[in-house]
Amino acid sequence: MAETSQLSPDLSESLSDEKARVGAPSSAEKIAIDGFTEEGENLSPLNTGTEQHGARRHSHGDEPVVPEASRGERLKSYRLADFAPLTGREEDWRFTPLKRLRGLDSAPLTGEGPSVTVTGASNIQVETVSRDDARFGSAAVPEDRVSAAAWEAVTTATVVTIPEETVADCEVTVSVRGSDNAPAAQHLIIDARRFSRAVVVLDHHGSTVLAQNVEIVVGDGAELTVVSVQEWDDDAVHVSSQQAKVGRDARFKHVVVSLGGDLVRLTPSSFFTAPGSEVEMYGLYFADAGQHLEQRLLVDHAVPNCKSRVTYKGALQGKDAHTVWVGDVLIRKEAEGTDTYEVNRNLVLTDGARSDSVPNLEIETGLIEGAGHASATGRFDDEHLFYLMARGIDEKTARRLVVRGFLNEVIQQIKVPVLEERLTEAVERELAAGNY
């Protein structure tokens, strides 16, 4: 039996070349899969130029990906020039098919961009401000090239302010409607002042090629929910950095719902700046054939006694449907008493779909309440179907039962009935489109 776990000589050789990292286990007993290390895949096949699938990375002389020592050390800058052109080998772009960004990482972002219309609550303020406004940069600093490119390109921002101690009298809808495919930049600022309460829905639809920065300020004692819904047309490309700065004793809930678009890449971040706060981050995504839906989030516990919960759930159906979830939680040395848990679940409904899930937890202090993460990607397969049908449930109902139940957990968190209803219907449409 011992012989069967040995690798053939040429495999061992290629493996030892790829795994020169300190601390990497000796390769002799590992099973090698092309392009994979024990931390996952190195490259999106779309980023490897003319290289054929299965070719070995070292064969064309590229340097291996060297991740930053800590997530907290990632480069932050307002200047595009500080970020090198993307190659696809960057840690934070390795899953993204760069060719499908349609120039967001390289072309000037001079398109007009989607229109922004704010409706809903009557007791809030909506302004369009020029970029010398002091609120630019009040919550965010770009952490990647596309975000920095958008930062440099925009001339104005839409600012939604929930005034101090104001409870918005209904939810606020920021309708972002795209109508052309010229690469464009957009900037939104949501400023929830001290002790305010509001639900803000960013409703993305139409067609676009958009690099977007959303800055979110959650003031002391404020309660803010931001729901970002991506129901774009099939050809849309949307890269959005959504950074929140969370004040003292504040409650912030962030919900991502990604359903439509060719490539949607969201990077939501929550930065705790004072103790006593709670952040909940939810995500729901449903990828159909050919769609790339990516979410990379960060919760930065930089102060003591804050709590965070992250729940992302995704379903995939169809050939080359691809979802990516990367959840970074950083508990810094100062963040004693932190309580955090993140979970990602994926349901693969058909063959040919692919889901990547990478939970990362970085802990610099042991004096915490709790820290955990979980990830599971499962298939809905013929045995599930047989089981449900053997109890009298017809095939269509059986399939929908599973997917609905799975995604409902996130939809229920939105707590805006009209929106919950709409998204439930949208999920039904996705199911119908996939002949479910």
Binding site: L347, F386, M389, G392, F406
Partner: protein, 257 residues
């Protein structure tokens, strides 16, 4: 009174080595109120019979028939068979992600009856059945079979049997992997439902142990895809003492049998 009739059933599966015949002419008639035990060594085709009756797509019926009160079962889809009154308690119940037990049970009951059960009675029925089978109340909120132990999964199968009230229950090695206490609880559940006189039971088992708790009217011994011997409960006693050795033709005894 209903009749489940299996006549000269031949079933095969596709393997990498080609088509492999499993059942080689099985005939069996079960009436309401009867309990039939099917016993036999591993690989004799017992579970294939169970899965074929339920309509698992892996099995191909080459010839023969299965009828339920004269209706052709083989022409029915899996869900139609269930709605016609056939229930398979699975040997390895699968975990179904995303669906809570509560939701699953109600959806299935609605599908089987053609109308939603009255919420008040249904909740009470589920609760009672769960208590009798010693299933924790919190199972209702968990996903179907997810994280259940082997014994818990089997108890949940019998829970469904009691709630769905089929015309014929096929128990595919429900006793496998159960400790004595769980075996008693599960057997009591089957007996409770059977004693109402509206169900026929086909009990498939490798061991005689469960027959101490569920008394069969007929015992059929399966060997190599055929019924090798049939008799009353006394046949089970004899198997308990002698095992299956006398049925095994020299040279066909395979590893694991």
């Amino acid at each position: 009174m209903s009749t489940l009739e299996i006549k000269d059933l031949h079933v095969s599966i596709e393997t990498e080595q080609g088509t492999k015949p499993i059942l080689k002419g099985v005939s069996l008639t079960i009436n309401t109120g009867e309990t039939h035990a099917i016993m036999g060594p591993n690989g004799s085709g017992k579970s294939t019979l169970a899965s074929t009756i339920a309509g698992h797509p892996r099995y191909t019926v080459d010839s023969g028939s299965i009828t339920l009160d004269g209706e052709n079962v083989l022409e029915m889809s899996v869900d139609e068979r269930a709605r016609a009154g056939l229930f398979l308690a699975m040997q390895y119940p699968v975990e179904v992600p995303g669906v809570t037990m509560t939701n699953f049970l109600r959806t299935a009951k609605t599908a089987l009856d053609g109308e939603a059960p009255s919420l008040r009675h249904w909740t009470k029925d589920v609760k009672e059945a769960m208590t009798q089978l010693r299933i924790d109340a919190d199972f209702a909120q968990r996903n179907v079979n997810e994280g259940f132990s082997g014994g818990e999964k089997k108890r949940v199968e019998i829970l469904q049997l009691e709630l769905f009230k089929p015309k014929f229950a096929i128990l595919d090695e429900t006793d496998s992997g159960l400790d004595v206490d769980a075996l008693k609880v599960v057997s009591e559940g089957v007996n409770r439902e059977h004693s109402k006189g509206k169900m026929g039971t086909l009990l498939i088992t490798h061991y005689t142990r469960i027959l101490r708790y569920i008394k069969p009217d007929f015992v059929h011994v399966f060997v190599d895809g055929r019924i090798a011997e049939e008799g009353g409960p006394e046949l089970a006693d004899r198997l308990e003492e002698e095992g299956y050795d006398r049925f095994l033709v020299p040279g066909t005894a395979t590893a694991g049998a």
